[in-house]
């Protein structure tokens, strides 16, 4: 059944197409601006007013200065460690917990579930958690970045839902063949729940990639700083002196400082933005399962 559009609908459609297009442009443009600006000539950019549509006199000076700053590399290296090791710990614990809590005939399941879910509603807060981490001797170690957040309750519940959806008959037939719980988990459940686990890996990895607050409170030595903390120094505290010592003129130095900020944003963000369209469908899936809590 095809119905002719009324004039009102045509006006609405036109408005809607343009409005949403404009909205998305405002989401895209700031990133483009940053990319264009980062490749510009610092002095030219200082004098320029208004939106950029391409780099002003292509130059890679900001990147040269930024990438010669050792903290960037230290930050990158540490973040990679936190992402890889941290996510591995997250996934191991979340998978085991999710699997066990998805089993039907387990007497202690509901009490344990309550024990876990309660922490979503009430927490000890920042100070007692800090004192705990301190008394465990984790201050200024890489473990403070990974162990206190070893399980995210939301993700645990998502995993549990995922294991629920594996048909019982598979487990039964495996049991008849003599498989124990460990075999069932690693040989049947994990391969079948792999798309779900991929989602969890993404969620946790992004979390580690973006984490900075644990680093602020738990880390002292700069050698352990994650990338986000290095970025915070550059972007928010504007401490780029180390990179611009070679420039004698004060206004030049200011111009370059601004440019280094743009380059830092690009270096830390563009890799993620480039791979995310490929991961998008997994993320979307994760959000969906996360929203449908039982």
């Amino acid at each position: 059944m095809k119905i002719r559009k009324s004039p009102g609908e045509i006006i609405f459609d036109t408005f809607n197409y343009i409005f949403l297009g404009f909205l998305c442009f405002t989401m895209l443009y700031p990133m483009l601006y940053v990319i264009f600006a980062s490749f510009s000539n610092p002095i030219k950019l200082m004098a320029y007013r208004g939106p950029l549509l391409r780099p002003l006199e292509f130059s890679t000076e900001a990147y040269k200065l930024l990438l010669s700053y050792p903290m960037i590399w230290i930050g990158y290296k540490n973040t990679l460690i936190y992402v890889v090791v941290g996510t591995a710990i997250n996934i191991l614990l979340t998978t085991m917990g999710g699997y066990v809590l998805s089993r039907k005939n387990l007497k202690l399941k509901n009490p344990v579930m309550f024990f876990i879910a309660f922490t979503m509603y009430f927490s000890g807060g920042m100070i007692p958690t800090y004192l705990l981490v301190q008394s465990l001797g984790m201050i200024d170690t890489i473990w403070a970045m990974m162990i206190p957040g070893a399980i995210s309750t939301t993700n645990l519940i998502i995993m549990r839902t995922g294991f629920h959806s594996v048909p019982d008959s598979l487990e039964e037939s495996a049991r008849i063949d003599g498989a124990g719980d460990w075999t069932i988990l690693f040989r049947i459940m994990i391969p079948l729940a792999m798309p779900m686990i991929a989602v969890m890996i993404l969620f946790y990895a992004v979390g580690h990639w973006n984490a900075f607050f644990n680093a602020i409170i738990y880390l002292r030595s700069r050698e352990l700083y994650p990338l986000q903390l290095v970025l915070r120094e550059i972007l928010i505290m504007s401490s780029t002196e180390n990179m611009t010592t070679g420039i004698s003129d004060a206004s030049d130095r200011f111009a370059v400082t601004e440019l280094i900020k743009y380059a830092a944003i690009v270096v830390s963000t563009v890799p993620i933005l480039c791979i995310y369209p490929f991961l998008q469908k997994y993320f979307v899936k994760g959000v969906m399962i996360g929203a449908i809590k039982e």
Partner: protein, 317 residues
């Protein structure tokens, strides 16, 4: 009668549990690290909250420090009342503004996107709208500070359009903190937040639309009487989740965005806890403020859930 029944079954229940523990030994072994994690990193801090009622000094430890009752609460409600009301007001206002403006935004976006019939255009819009979600908070705040600085892009554009004669220093003006905070939040999460609603819309039975069409409903009426009621349960759930962590929301972004010049409107409970408790190392005071925060938060979840149950029969529990 019920009492008698439980009494009767008590011993066999324990036996059943024992049997269950043996039969599912490997499952319970898998559960040990998980339970241990929750016990250590969630329940021990809850136990540690008692320092809110003690005069805690690290040398004496949690056990050894003397009890002082409600002294710490008195300290902030009575002596520091100026700061306390400010942080409570700021926490509530930021959240209320975010609920008024930030919460409906993804819903409206999803409804508008749903009206776009060209699938390529629709998919492009979706992909672009998710993008800001993937930028880290540090970078987002760095970009806000750059674009909204006195000679940043926003001031340049407003000036060239003749809207402003004098540039505004958004980042140091207390009056601009909340609009910037909430606005940038919408910018970042509009697309991402719409995923859930778009999925809910796609789950609505197409027959409902056909029926509405036969009854003479145009697209606007279809949206009003079919789409919106169809996604209402999802809206309620998302609202509850949002209210549920109202008191903790946005701490990291506030922490990065604010500065002493904007404390007046930007300082929230958790940032105050951080400064007092960790920077000034007044642990008991910080824990007391934190406990106050947690209790309010807990009450909010329970309360909003009760209301939702009454109104819509949808709830988290």
């Amino acid at each position: 009668m019920e009492k008698a029944a439980t009494k009767h079954f008590q011993p066999s229940r324990w036996q059943e549990l024992k049997k269950d523990l043996i039969r599912n030994k490997s499952l319970y072994i898998m559960l040990i690290p998980v339970v241990a994690y929750y016990f250590i990193f969630h329940y021990i801090p809850m136990y540690g909250l008692q320092i809110a009622f003690k005069d805690f000094t690290p040398a004496k430890g949690i056990w050894g420090s003397p009890w002082v009752g409600l002294e710490k609460f008195k300290e902030f409600f009575v002596y520091d009342s100026f700061y306390v009301w400010r942080i409570i007001r700021n926490t509530i206002l930021i959240n209320v503004y975010d609920l008024i403006f930030g919460f409906p935004a993804p819903i409206i976006f999803a409804l508008l996107l749903n009206e776009i019939k060209n699938s390529i255009y629709k998919r492009t819009l979706q992909t672009v709208s998710y993008m800001p979600h993937f930028i880290s908070t540090v970078v987002i705040v760095g970009m806000i500070m750059d674009f909204f600085s006195r000679d940043g892009l926003i001031n340049q554009i407003l000036k060239s359009l003749g809207i402003l004669s004098e540039p505004i220093s958004f980042m140091t003006e207390p009056g601009w903190f909340r609009p910037l905070y909430v606005g940038s939040g919408i910018w970042q999460n509009l697309g991402w937040g719409s995923i859930v609603y778009l999925a809910a819309i796609s789950n609505i039975d197409p027959q409902l639309y056909e029926a509405a069409l036969i009854d003479g409903a145009g697209r606007f009426r279809q949206a009003l009487y079919v789409t919106i009621p169809g996604i209402l349960p999802t809206i309620v759930i998302m609202f509850l989740l949002r209210v549920g962590h109202m008191m903790n929301v946005g701490f990291e972004k506030v922490f990065l965005m604010y500065n002493p010049l904007t404390y007046e409107t930007a300082d929230v409970i958790s940032t105050y806890v951080y400064r007092k408790g960790l920077l000034e190392m007044d642990y008991s005071y910080g824990a007391a403020v934190g406990l106050f925060n947690s209790v309010i938060n807990f009450l909010l979840v329970v309360f909003s859930n009760k209301i939702a149950k009454k109104l819509t029969e949808t709830s988290l529990w």
